[in-house]
Symmetry: C2
Subunit: 343 residues, 2 copies
DNA sequence: TTGTACGCGTTATCAG
DNA sequence: CTGATAACGCGTACAA
């Protein structure tokens, strides 16, 4: 009874007929292969447009032995901000390049068999891996074994033969620490991120190096292990505030944890930033919704993901086989959660 | 130089050979068609497993004239909570049913040409539409014209010939209003949601009906138009608090706006819940991260999306052609942002 | 209950 | 520069 998928019945043969050429020529034009006279090219393009021709992806995939799709492997977190930005970056490039995107959430413990199945079932031509999945040897080795090119988003250790993007976490963290020092803070608590994330060590390193450069003592008691989620931020805040000599400022490795710190301070009647300054990292939406709004660092995740995808697709199209690594720059955004130290 | 996609070279022919049958029989078994002796079935399954056989989706799609993929059309909002849950529900069912999922963000003004292109390029077999895209006639009419079955997630007006899920917004809103009344509040501000969302009217209706049932006046001045985002929550809160006789409680149609209300109250030094009670809707992560945590209503969005997808795939497989509509139940979650009225 | 042969819409080979 | 024709892997009439 359905009216039928009208435009979907147009095939390459129809285009060829209308343009008065062979299907191979049409194929050449549509795949921008060389060796076509420009007037024939015009004719073909015109015919294709007139007929609203869209190549059938299944047929292309079958004949060309590829799927024109890539997979996005990500950990499925409570707070989706990071994944959302990554998704937006990847999807934008995919659309522009005519690829489709398949999402693949991974548990905390990535099961490489699941990834194998994913690849076998979907036949993705490549993959974008977000942190921390991008550092799982189980996954990267498998992809390499299967011959599936991939790009790593914020990896701990970039694989030099592949594609990876990062931002200047260490410098940004250094800048934030310096900013807090400039406000007069002398005891600055630091909440580390999830140990599996590559950014975690770098952000700590920036904090530490800044203290050293300013001849400040590095007090281990002021550094607490968090896990990038709100609850761990609360827990770490409690530990820091329970110290005999508590910090006057807390720098959390991301905004969700910083929000947890603010929550805990509020619970205890500690005013922010009056008695305690708080800083985060990421500039997630939550950062501007806490009271007071969070001083934080903005990462260009969307752009990073778009870049990585661009390079990945470039490689799928047969660009160079070399490794490719890029670093983006973060930006410190001062808001009201930090102020000069009264003490 | 690559080792090659070893397991991907196994075709149905290999399975047929190994099982000592024809490819048609293999096909029958794998698609669970009838008329196969159970011992042949066993042989085939065994061979398939032994060879790690995975059917080639491109070939299946080409031969069967379908793609085994569905599209998820969504508005790309700042706050991703709702989409995230919908995605999780859809993706879970897709994986279980052997479908793959293609994401398709839509602008506020949905361009039907973009949707047409999406369908033409991807050849999705069906689509799941989230609010408010699910109510755009431009989109639904087009899908119908193209013969693409779809499911609506929280539509304003369910199309009786299609699939739709909702939750009992009106009842839930009624319950929340009654809860606030039971705390002694007599002037309750209400912040409406985005006018394009189906839930908006229902939530307002529940609030209104509850007031009437309790012989309370319905004061138009207490109802303000919001847009489901944090900023509109702030703006509406200011208007309500600026009234000559401001409300003692504010019920916002979602958590993001409620967070904006809390923020504004904090800005003005109004204590929550001491001087102002605040309630939200959705039970997003943000709801438990505000200070104080938000009294809210939990919607089972993941389950709703999973159900819708299940039905959609059922129909793609040739189940009944009838319309299918389901309503899920929300749950009121009291937290610390509401308390009994002092006045 | 099972098998043969053809077609799906592209890309790729190789000859013109 | 262009075109005929063979793959690609699977579903499906139709036949046995």
């Amino acid at each position: 009874m359905r009216s039928g998928k009208s435009s979907q019945k147009v095939t390459i043969v129809d285009v060829a007929k209308r343009a008065g050429v062979s299907i191979k020529t049409v194929s050449r034009v549509l795949n921008s292969e060389p060796n076509v006279r420009s007037d024939t090219r015009e004719k073909v393009l015109e015919a294709a447009k007139a007929l609203h021709y869209q190549p059938n992806p299944s047929a292309r995939g079958l004949a060309g032995n590829r799927s024109f799709s890539i997979g996005l492997l990500y950990e499925n977190p409570q707070e989706f901000g990071y994944v959302k930005d990554a998704l937006n970056g990847v999807i934008g490039t995919c659309e522009a390049e005519g690829y489709s995107l398949l999402m693949r959430p991974c548990g905390e413990e990535v099961d490489s068999e699941e990834v194998r199945k994913f690849v076998a079932q979907t036949r993705v031509d490549g993959a974008v891996l977000t942190a921390p999945v991008c550092d799982e040897p189980e996954v990267t080795d498998l992809l390499e074994e299967l011959g599936v090119p991939f790009a790593q988003l914020a990896p701990k250790a970039p694989r030099s033969d592949w594609i990876s993007v990062q931002c200047n976490d260490e410098e940004a963290s250094y800048a934030m620490t310096e900013y807090l020092l400039s406000l007069g803070h002398r005891r600055i608590g630091f909440i580390k991120g999830h140990p599996d994330h590559g950014a975690t060590e770098k952000r700590l390193a920036g904090y530490r190096r800044c203290l050293e450069d300013h001849d400040m003592p590095f007090d281990r008691a002021l550094v607490i292990q968090g896990y990038f989620d709100f609850e761990s931020g609360q827990r770490c805040a409690r530990k820091l505030l329970d110290l005999q000599s508590p910090p006057s400022a807390i720098f959390a490795s991301n905004d969700d944890m910083a929000a947890g710190v603010i929550f805990t301070a509020r619970e205890r009647g500690i005013s922010v930033p009056g008695e305690l300054s708080v800083a985060g990292f990421d500039d997630s939406p939550a950062a501007s919704h806490t009271w007071p709004p969070l001083t934080t660092i903005k990462q260009p995740i969307v752009e990073m993901a778009a870049w990585a995808t661009q390079r990945l697709i470039g490689r799928l199209r047969g660009a160079s086989e070399e490794g490719d690594e890029e670093t983006f720059t973060c930006e410190l955004i001062p808001r009201q959660s930090t102020s000069s130290c009264e003490a």
